[in-house]
């Protein structure tokens, strides 16, 4: 197919990214901002950026995505974006009337040096921000990091600009879920509720990007974390952050600003990571783990035991975002599968935080197995390289976002869609992949493609009825 131009000779590249395994910061900030109730994300830059980000989110969620833009012109690039931003704030509150405007920058506004702190202060000073409304902002230049960095920055901005250090002490646990789907956020809330733990979670895109069909187009869907709840998180008893790349900045900021003790862990994808999450909730809130959750875990274990012979020794190539990859690697390792090629275009560690390097996290997840696994992150860690590795030595399963389908087709590999973006299937926004139930769903998908392939390629005499 179209990737027939790929050779199996890996040449070290210094100046070129081919078929990137990442995209740029602003879209992450936009997704995070949509997790605030009655919030309009705002893109401070050219119209193209906002349009592309909205389109990509729409294609991934099959939902309308609203965001405003500063509509930069040539003049703006010379004289600065302040005028546009001030007009924009006025327009937005005047017409769209959100509770929060969450501004992120683009490479253009960053390079021309727009000082968002000063601009927003000016807007407030000139009375352009109505009483009780807020404008938050974060810096998301596209030539640094990746979309994950942008997401992390916006969530950090929620902590630093909306959490109240003087909030009344409450008995809630703040949960920073990381870049997960609305279905995952829903599942995390459900798990906490089942355990009797009251949480404040942000961002929360459930009921925003997985909204039901009601025949109305709600400009502001009913979901999202309310501003006052984010403020109240400043008085919570503790904070759990999921996904080191996506949540570290926010957790560390909340601790610094509001003295909320933070605990960071990898995304609860897979049995062990979910165990750690449940345990953290249990300890922090001082509750017991109810039988229903233990039973769900038991069912996952049951499923793994029943089918482990189909998984043992299968070679897997995975690509996507660091947080997902680390937890997936751990899960695949538990399933006795071999994640031999692991690629993310996102550079690590995350600047300004204490997170370890990507390969350190992966090695930990592998627990000493697969010393020859090929792990690559950051610049030139792209799908082209992944494809070349696969051409050198094949794998049994490929797991990643929709862009993997070209490799899957060219190399005839069973393919499981997982991550961001998924542009050609549905389900990821409605069904979780976190928690025990989520792990079961992932396992079902992985088994499905492996067993379909076995059926497809079986000789007639070996075509099985019972598997």
């Amino acid at each position: 197919m179209l990737l027939r131009h790929t050779t199996d000779q890996v040449l070290e590249r210094t100046a070129l990214t081919v078929n990137p395994a990442k995209t740029c910061q602003p879209i992450g900030a936009m997704y995070a901002a949509l997790g605030i109730h009655n919030c309009l994300p705002h893109s401070h830059g050219s119209q193209g950026c906002c349009s592309y980000h909205r389109s990509t989110l729409t294609r991934h969620y099959k939902e309308p995505v609203m965001a405003a833009t500063s509509s930069f012109t040539e003049g703006t690039s010379v004289f600065g974006g302040q005028a546009n931003m001030l007009t924009a704030i006025q327009t937005i509150f005047g017409v769209y009337n959100p509770d929060v405007v969450a501004v992120h920058t683009t490479c253009l506004s960053e390079t021309i040096g727009d000082d968002m702190v000063q601009i927003v202060a000016k807007a407030v000073g000139e009375g352009k921000v109505p009483e009780g409304k807020r404008v938050i902002h974060c810096s998301t230049p596209s030539y640094q990091g990746s979309h994950v960095t942008g997401f992390a920055s916006m969530v950090k901005a929620m902590a630093t600009q909306l959490a109240d250090p003087n909030a009344e002490k409450n008995s809630k646990v703040t949960l920073i879920p990381g870049w997960v789907e609305p279905s995952d956020m829903r599942e995390l809330k459900s798990l906490a509720a089942t355990m009797g733990v009251e949480i404040i979670m942000y961002p929360d895109t459930s009921d925003v990007l997985d909204a039901p069909h009601t025949g109305k187009h709600e400009f502001y869907p009913r979901g999202g974390t309310k501003m006052e709840d984010i403020a109240a998180s400043g008085g919570s008893i503790g904070c759990i952050g999921l996904g080191l790349s996506g949540s570290s900045a926010a957790v560390e900021a909340l601790e610094a600003k509001c003295k909320v003790p933070g605990q960071l862990m990898e995304l609860p994808i897979g049995l062990q990571a979910t165990d750690r999450f449940i345990d953290a909730l249990r300890t922090m809130a001082g509750v017991e783990v109810p039988d229903s959750i233990t039973d769900d875990r038991g069912r996952l274990l049951d499923m793994i035991s029943d089918m482990h012979q189909y998984l043992a020794g299968k070679r897997v190539a995975i690509f996507g975002d660091p947080d997902q990859l680390v937890s997936m690697t751990e899960f695949l390792n538990l399933l006795d599968m071999q994640p031999v090629y692991i690629v993310t275009g996102t550079p690590t560690p995350v600047t300004g935080t204490q997170t370890p390097q990507f390969d350190v996290r992966i090695r930990k997840a592998l627990g000493g197995n697969l010393p020859d696994a090929k792990i690559r992150s950051g610049a030139q860690a792209d799908m082209y390289l992944l494809h070349q590795w696969i051409k050198q030595q094949k794998v049994d399963v490929l797991i990643g976002n929709t862009y993997g389908k070209y490799i899957a087709r060219d190399e005839d590999i069973p393919f499981v869609r997982y991550g961001f973006p998924i542009l050609d299937r549905v389900g990821h926004s409605y069904f979780p992949s976190v928690g025990y139930k989520g792990a079961m769903r992932l396992l079902e998908k992985i088994l499905g493609v492996i067993m379909d392939r076995q059926d497809r390629d079986a000789l007639e005499e070996k075509f099985e009825l019972v598997m």
Binding site: Y52, M66, V95, P141, H213
Partner: protein, 455 residues
């Protein structure tokens, strides 16, 4: 009534009894509005991207390249180099020190590896600000590697998509005229402004071939560098999507004396006319006869099929929101052919003449909007009780949320909607969406007084 931003009042118009009308258009979007528009880079990228044997590299941060990766669905009958997304992935240090070296290295690496016929280098916002001299790098690499390396000045903030089209045409004009026109027949054309979505260029090219016309180059659907280089050998330029290509056609007329005509391949009348106009241009009786036979054959085949769909679609109401206004004309006509009325029509980039023309072909009470946004669109759709909305990726979810059928007439279409076959596909798609039983379960529709009896 929609809550229209005060600044936008003059960009939305309802047709009434007036003799003439004023609509503001071709303006910058108001800062802070949720416009459906994109940028200059987008315009250039979608025009040039289908050229399949050229290298396309985006000089800028990763986003611009990743969001336009395989964005168009432009099919190729041969090389698929255009479907790989190349970027110089500018980092912070590059922004500070300049990215020219990186671009030079990237171009050389890529040209070595893929041996394309030419290379297009797209500028993004940041390149415009940091001042990289792309022209110089392109010239130098071109000299080194012996192939055309063309800089496309598509910095995102420089204007609107239209300026992007122009930048793309400027790049193309550097190629046109550099090839040999030996052997090109006197009865030859270039097809401008079709991008081979879902194979539409192949369909159109086939019609012309059956008429006895030689197609020198397709700009840019299933495009090839060598064909474009000899495009100046054609006797006539046939221009669809005039928004993006009129500038190229006009320039080729000035430089090479090649006349051009505007056509549309959407809808039965427009498709037939686009074939007849070419035959008439060449004043060839034989060709005219071939054309008449071909059109008659096609019509005989499709008219009964269309009549079937019309039975259900008669009286249904359509809304249209597209990028360029030119497509809207054809759609209004095509829909009328299926018995449907257009009650709302708008575009991102239409000009005064476009809107005047729209006003004339629309019925009274039709809403005409320029550079609209989701709030307005939802409100119009509800107000006019629309049955099908025709638009692109950002319009679809609004239609579905409201319980309205949809037809993608933009990047994401999978079936050819051009030509005679395309008209049948269009009717089928519109019919399938409008008549889907799922809309009967939409609460808003159940509550409405124009309720269809649940069967």
């Amino acid at each position: 009534m929609a809550d229209i931003l005060r600044e936008r009042e003059r960009q939305v118009f309802r047709k009434g009894q007036e003799a003439s009308f004023q609509i503001d258009c071709e303006k910058q979007s108001v800062a802070g509005s949720v416009s459906q528009r994109a940028c200059v880079f987008c315009g250039s990228r979608v025009v040039l991207y289908p050229i399949a044997d050229a290298l396309h590299i985006v000089h800028g941060p990763i986003g611009c390249a990743s969001y336009t990766w395989d964005i168009r669905g432009s099919l190729s009958s041969g090389p698929e180099l255009h479907r790989l997304s190349f970027s110089t992935d500018l980092q912070e240090l590059d922004v500070v020190h300049g990215g020219e070296k990186k671009l030079h290295a990237a171009l050389c690496e890529l040209i070595e590896e893929h041996k394309p016929k030419a290379a297009f280098v797209y500028a993004t916002c940041i390149v415009g600000v940091i001042g990289d001299d792309m022209e110089a790098v392109c010239k130098s690499v071109s000299k080194e590697k012996g192939i055309p390396v063309l800089a496309v000045h598509s910095e995102g903030f420089k204007g609107t998509k239209k300026d992007g089209y122009r930048a793309a045409c400027d790049a193309l004009l550097q190629l046109v005229g550099t090839g040999s026109t030996e052997g090109v027949s006197a009865k030859s054309i270039n097809i401008l402004g079709d991008f081979n979505l879902a194979g539409e260029t192949w369909m159109i090219r086939d019609y012309y071939k059956r008429m006895g016309v030689e197609v020198v180059s397709c700009i840019t659907g299933d495009g090839r560098i060598d064909d474009i280089r000899r495009a100046h050998g054609a006797a006539l330029n046939v221009v669809q999507c005039s928004g993006s290509m009129t500038y190229l056609a006009k320039s080729m007329k000035e430089k090479y004396g090649i006349p051009f005509m505007r056509v549309s391949y959407f809808g039965v009348e427009d498709m037939s006319k686009s074939l007849y106009d070419v035959a008439k241009h060449f004043k060839d009786k034989e060709m005219l006869k071939l054309t008449q036979n071909m059109v008659r054959e096609e019509l005989q085949r499709i008219m009964p099929l269309l009549a079937e769909y019309k039975k259900d679609l008669q009286g249904k109401r359509a809304a249209i929101y597209v990028g360029g206004a030119f497509k809207a004309f054809s759609l209004v006509t095509a829909l009328r052919h299926l018995g449907m009325t257009t009650v709302m029509v708008g575009s991102q980039t239409g000009n005064k003449d476009d809107y005047e023309q729209l006003r004339q072909i629309c019925d009274e009470g039709t809403i005409i909007a320029d550079d609209s946004n989701p709030l307005e669109l939802s409100s119009f759709l509800e107000e006019k009780d629309v049955d099908v909305f025709i638009g692109g990726v950002k319009e679809r979810p609004i239609a579905y949320k409201l319980g309205i059928g949809f037809c993608d007439h933009n990047h994401e279409r999978k079936e050819a909607l051009a030509g005679f076959e395309g008209m049948v596909n269009f009717a089928r798609e519109v019919h399938g969406s409008v008549m889907s039983p799922v809309w009967r379960l939409t609460p808003r529709k159940r509550a409405s007084s124009t309720l269809e009896v649940l069967k």
